[in-house]
Symmetry: C2
Subunit: 101 residues, 2 copies
DNA sequence: CGTGTAAGGAATTCTGACACG
DNA sequence: CGTGTAAGGAATTCTGACACG
Protein backbone atom coordinates (compact mmCIF):
# COMPACT_ATOMS: atom_id res chain seq x y z
CA UNK A 1 0.00 0.00 0.00
CA UNK A 2 2.83 2.38 0.75
CA UNK A 3 4.80 3.29 -2.38
CA UNK A 4 8.53 2.65 -2.29
CA UNK A 5 9.42 6.20 -3.25
CA UNK A 6 6.94 8.93 -2.42
CA UNK A 7 4.72 10.30 -5.14
CA UNK A 8 6.62 13.50 -4.66
CA UNK A 9 9.82 12.00 -5.97
CA UNK A 10 8.51 9.90 -8.81
CA UNK A 11 9.48 11.36 -12.17
CA UNK A 12 6.34 11.18 -14.24
CA UNK A 13 5.49 14.71 -15.38
CA UNK A 14 6.17 15.93 -18.92
CA UNK A 15 7.86 19.24 -19.58
CA UNK A 16 4.62 20.70 -20.86
CA UNK A 17 2.76 20.06 -17.62
CA UNK A 18 5.82 21.07 -15.61
CA UNK A 19 5.81 24.34 -17.51
CA UNK A 20 2.19 24.93 -16.57
CA UNK A 21 2.71 24.00 -12.93
CA UNK A 22 5.72 26.28 -12.53
CA UNK A 23 4.77 29.08 -14.87
CA UNK A 24 8.19 28.75 -16.50
CA UNK A 25 8.77 28.31 -20.22
CA UNK A 26 10.03 25.00 -21.52
CA UNK A 27 13.10 26.87 -22.67
CA UNK A 28 13.84 27.98 -19.13
CA UNK A 29 13.31 24.51 -17.72
CA UNK A 30 15.66 22.95 -20.27
CA UNK A 31 18.23 25.63 -19.63
CA UNK A 32 18.25 25.00 -15.89
CA UNK A 33 18.93 21.39 -16.68
CA UNK A 34 21.83 22.42 -18.91
CA UNK A 35 23.18 24.36 -15.95
CA UNK A 36 22.84 21.27 -13.79
CA UNK A 37 20.19 22.62 -11.47
CA UNK A 38 17.59 20.02 -12.28
CA UNK A 39 17.80 16.37 -13.33
CA UNK A 40 14.78 14.92 -15.10
CA UNK A 41 14.59 11.32 -16.14
CA UNK A 42 13.88 10.27 -19.71
CA UNK A 43 11.50 7.89 -21.42
CA UNK A 44 12.96 5.38 -23.87
CA UNK A 45 12.13 7.88 -26.57
CA UNK A 46 14.01 10.67 -24.82
CA UNK A 47 11.12 12.68 -23.43
CA UNK A 48 11.90 14.38 -20.12
CA UNK A 49 10.01 13.43 -16.97
CA UNK A 50 9.91 15.51 -13.78
CA UNK A 51 8.73 14.88 -10.22
CA UNK A 52 6.66 17.15 -7.99
CA UNK A 53 9.82 17.79 -6.06
CA UNK A 54 11.43 18.97 -9.28
CA UNK A 55 8.50 21.30 -9.80
CA UNK A 56 9.07 22.79 -6.35
CA UNK A 57 12.77 23.08 -6.97
CA UNK A 58 12.11 24.87 -10.24
CA UNK A 59 9.95 27.44 -8.50
CA UNK A 60 12.73 28.04 -5.98
CA UNK A 61 15.27 28.42 -8.77
CA UNK A 62 13.01 30.86 -10.56
CA UNK A 63 12.72 32.94 -7.39
CA UNK A 64 16.45 33.09 -6.90
CA UNK A 65 17.01 34.12 -10.50
CA UNK A 66 14.39 36.81 -10.09
CA UNK A 67 16.42 38.00 -7.12
CA UNK A 68 19.38 38.42 -9.46
CA UNK A 69 21.23 35.25 -8.54
CA UNK A 70 23.03 33.50 -11.38
CA UNK A 71 22.67 29.81 -12.20
CA UNK A 72 26.22 28.97 -11.21
CA UNK A 73 25.67 30.61 -7.82
CA UNK A 74 22.53 28.59 -7.26
CA UNK A 75 24.41 25.46 -8.19
CA UNK A 76 27.31 26.29 -5.90
CA UNK A 77 24.86 26.86 -3.06
CA UNK A 78 23.25 23.45 -3.64
CA UNK A 79 26.60 21.70 -3.70
CA UNK A 80 27.57 23.37 -0.44
CA UNK A 81 24.37 22.22 1.22
CA UNK A 82 24.88 18.70 -0.03
CA UNK A 83 28.40 18.66 1.36
CA UNK A 84 27.26 19.82 4.77
CA UNK A 85 24.59 17.13 4.84
CA UNK A 86 27.15 14.53 3.83
CA UNK A 87 29.54 15.55 6.59
CA UNK A 88 26.85 15.45 9.23
CA UNK A 89 25.73 12.03 8.07
CA UNK A 90 29.28 10.76 8.09
CA UNK A 91 29.75 12.05 11.61
CA UNK A 92 26.61 10.34 12.83
CA UNK A 93 27.61 7.09 11.21
CA UNK A 94 31.04 7.24 12.77
CA UNK A 95 29.54 7.91 16.17
CA UNK A 96 27.02 5.13 15.82
CA UNK A 97 29.54 2.54 14.76
CA UNK A 98 32.46 3.81 16.81
CA UNK A 99 34.67 3.73 13.75
CA UNK A 100 36.14 7.16 14.16
CA UNK A 101 39.81 7.14 12.99
CA UNK B 1 4.02 25.43 1.29
CA UNK B 2 1.19 22.93 1.49
CA UNK B 3 -0.36 22.24 -1.89
CA UNK B 4 -4.08 22.85 -2.22
CA UNK B 5 -4.78 19.39 -3.59
CA UNK B 6 -2.40 16.61 -2.69
CA UNK B 7 0.16 15.47 -5.21
CA UNK B 8 -1.77 12.24 -5.23
CA UNK B 9 -4.80 13.85 -6.79
CA UNK B 10 -3.15 16.18 -9.27
CA UNK B 11 -3.70 14.98 -12.84
CA UNK B 12 -0.33 15.32 -14.48
CA UNK B 13 0.67 11.89 -15.79
CA UNK B 14 0.44 10.95 -19.46
CA UNK B 15 -1.15 7.71 -20.58
CA UNK B 16 2.24 6.35 -21.57
CA UNK B 17 3.68 6.72 -18.09
CA UNK B 18 0.41 5.56 -16.55
CA UNK B 19 0.65 2.46 -18.70
CA UNK B 20 4.15 1.79 -17.37
CA UNK B 21 3.18 2.43 -13.76
CA UNK B 22 0.16 0.13 -13.90
CA UNK B 23 1.39 -2.48 -16.33
CA UNK B 24 -1.81 -2.02 -18.34
CA UNK B 25 -1.92 -1.29 -22.06
CA UNK B 26 -3.02 2.13 -23.23
CA UNK B 27 -5.93 0.38 -24.89
CA UNK B 28 -7.08 -1.01 -21.57
CA UNK B 29 -6.76 2.33 -19.82
CA UNK B 30 -8.79 4.10 -22.51
CA UNK B 31 -11.40 1.38 -22.40
CA UNK B 32 -11.88 1.71 -18.65
CA UNK B 33 -12.49 5.39 -19.23
CA UNK B 34 -15.08 4.54 -21.87
CA UNK B 35 -16.78 2.36 -19.26
CA UNK B 36 -16.73 5.29 -16.85
CA UNK B 37 -14.35 3.74 -14.34
CA UNK B 38 -11.69 6.39 -14.61
CA UNK B 39 -11.80 10.11 -15.40
CA UNK B 40 -8.59 11.69 -16.64
CA UNK B 41 -8.30 15.37 -17.38
CA UNK B 42 -7.16 16.69 -20.73
CA UNK B 43 -4.61 19.18 -21.95
CA UNK B 44 -5.78 21.88 -24.35
CA UNK B 45 -4.61 19.61 -27.12
CA UNK B 46 -6.66 16.70 -25.85
CA UNK B 47 -3.95 14.57 -24.27
CA UNK B 48 -5.13 12.61 -21.24
CA UNK B 49 -3.63 13.32 -17.80
CA UNK B 50 -3.91 10.99 -14.81
CA UNK B 51 -3.17 11.31 -11.09
CA UNK B 52 -1.36 8.87 -8.82
CA UNK B 53 -4.75 8.09 -7.33
CA UNK B 54 -5.95 7.18 -10.82
CA UNK B 55 -2.95 4.89 -11.15
CA UNK B 56 -3.94 3.13 -7.93
CA UNK B 57 -7.53 2.88 -9.01
CA UNK B 58 -6.46 1.38 -12.32
CA UNK B 59 -4.51 -1.33 -10.55
CA UNK B 60 -7.59 -2.14 -8.44
CA UNK B 61 -9.77 -2.27 -11.53
CA UNK B 62 -7.30 -4.57 -13.22
CA UNK B 63 -7.36 -6.90 -10.22
CA UNK B 64 -11.14 -7.08 -10.20
CA UNK B 65 -11.24 -7.82 -13.90
CA UNK B 66 -8.68 -10.53 -13.40
CA UNK B 67 -11.05 -11.96 -10.80
CA UNK B 68 -13.71 -12.19 -13.49
CA UNK B 69 -15.67 -9.09 -12.57
CA UNK B 70 -17.13 -7.10 -15.47
CA UNK B 71 -16.69 -3.37 -15.92
CA UNK B 72 -20.35 -2.58 -15.30
CA UNK B 73 -20.19 -4.48 -12.02
CA UNK B 74 -17.15 -2.54 -10.93
CA UNK B 75 -18.93 0.66 -11.83
CA UNK B 76 -22.09 -0.35 -9.97
CA UNK B 77 -19.97 -1.14 -6.93
CA UNK B 78 -18.33 2.30 -7.04
CA UNK B 79 -21.66 4.04 -7.34
CA UNK B 80 -23.01 2.12 -4.37
CA UNK B 81 -20.03 3.11 -2.25
CA UNK B 82 -20.41 6.75 -3.27
CA UNK B 83 -24.08 6.68 -2.30
CA UNK B 84 -23.32 5.27 1.12
CA UNK B 85 -20.70 7.93 1.70
CA UNK B 86 -23.12 10.61 0.58
CA UNK B 87 -25.83 9.38 2.96
CA UNK B 88 -23.46 9.29 5.91
CA UNK B 89 -22.24 12.77 5.13
CA UNK B 90 -25.80 14.04 4.81
CA UNK B 91 -26.68 12.51 8.15
CA UNK B 92 -23.74 14.14 9.85
CA UNK B 93 -24.57 17.51 8.34
CA UNK B 94 -28.17 17.24 9.45
CA UNK B 95 -27.11 16.34 12.97
CA UNK B 96 -24.58 19.14 13.11
CA UNK B 97 -27.00 21.78 11.90
CA UNK B 98 -30.13 20.36 13.49
CA UNK B 99 -32.00 20.67 10.21
CA UNK B 100 -33.47 17.20 10.18
CA UNK B 101 -36.96 17.54 8.69
C1' DC C 1 23.76 35.13 -19.04
C1' DG C 2 19.23 33.89 -19.60
C1' DT C 3 15.58 33.43 -22.77
C1' DG C 4 12.79 33.73 -27.16
C1' DT C 5 12.07 31.72 -31.55
C1' DA C 6 11.85 29.26 -36.13
C1' DA C 7 13.22 24.61 -38.08
C1' DG C 8 12.99 19.88 -38.97
C1' DG C 9 12.43 15.58 -37.13
C1' DA C 10 11.06 12.11 -33.88
C1' DA C 11 8.21 10.36 -30.07
C1' DT C 12 3.63 10.38 -28.16
C1' DT C 13 -1.21 10.41 -28.20
C1' DC C 14 -5.84 10.56 -30.32
C1' DT C 15 -10.00 8.61 -32.57
C1' DG C 16 -12.76 5.30 -35.08
C1' DA C 17 -12.72 0.85 -36.91
C1' DC C 18 -11.99 -4.05 -37.74
C1' DA C 19 -11.02 -8.44 -35.47
C1' DC C 20 -11.72 -12.16 -32.17
C1' DG C 21 -14.86 -14.22 -29.37
C1' DC D 1 -16.92 -8.13 -23.29
C1' DG D 2 -12.34 -6.81 -23.17
C1' DT D 3 -8.35 -6.14 -25.79
C1' DG D 4 -5.06 -6.10 -29.84
C1' DT D 5 -3.80 -3.73 -33.93
C1' DA D 6 -3.06 -0.95 -38.24
C1' DA D 7 -4.21 3.85 -39.98
C1' DG D 8 -3.92 8.64 -40.46
C1' DG D 9 -3.61 12.77 -38.23
C1' DA D 10 -2.63 15.97 -34.57
C1' DA D 11 -0.26 17.42 -30.31
C1' DT D 12 4.05 17.22 -27.85
C1' DT D 13 8.85 17.17 -27.30
C1' DC D 14 13.72 17.15 -28.85
C1' DT D 15 18.10 19.24 -30.41
C1' DG D 16 21.12 22.72 -32.31
C1' DA D 17 21.30 27.32 -33.77
C1' DC D 18 20.64 32.27 -34.30
C1' DA D 19 19.41 36.50 -31.84
C1' DC D 20 19.69 39.95 -28.20
C1' DG D 21 22.47 41.72 -24.85
Amino acid sequence: MVPLSSYKDKKVITIGVTSELTGLSERQIRYYEERKLIFPERTKGGTRKYSFRDVERLVEIANKIEDGMQTFEIRREEIKKANIREKMLRGQLNAAFKMRK
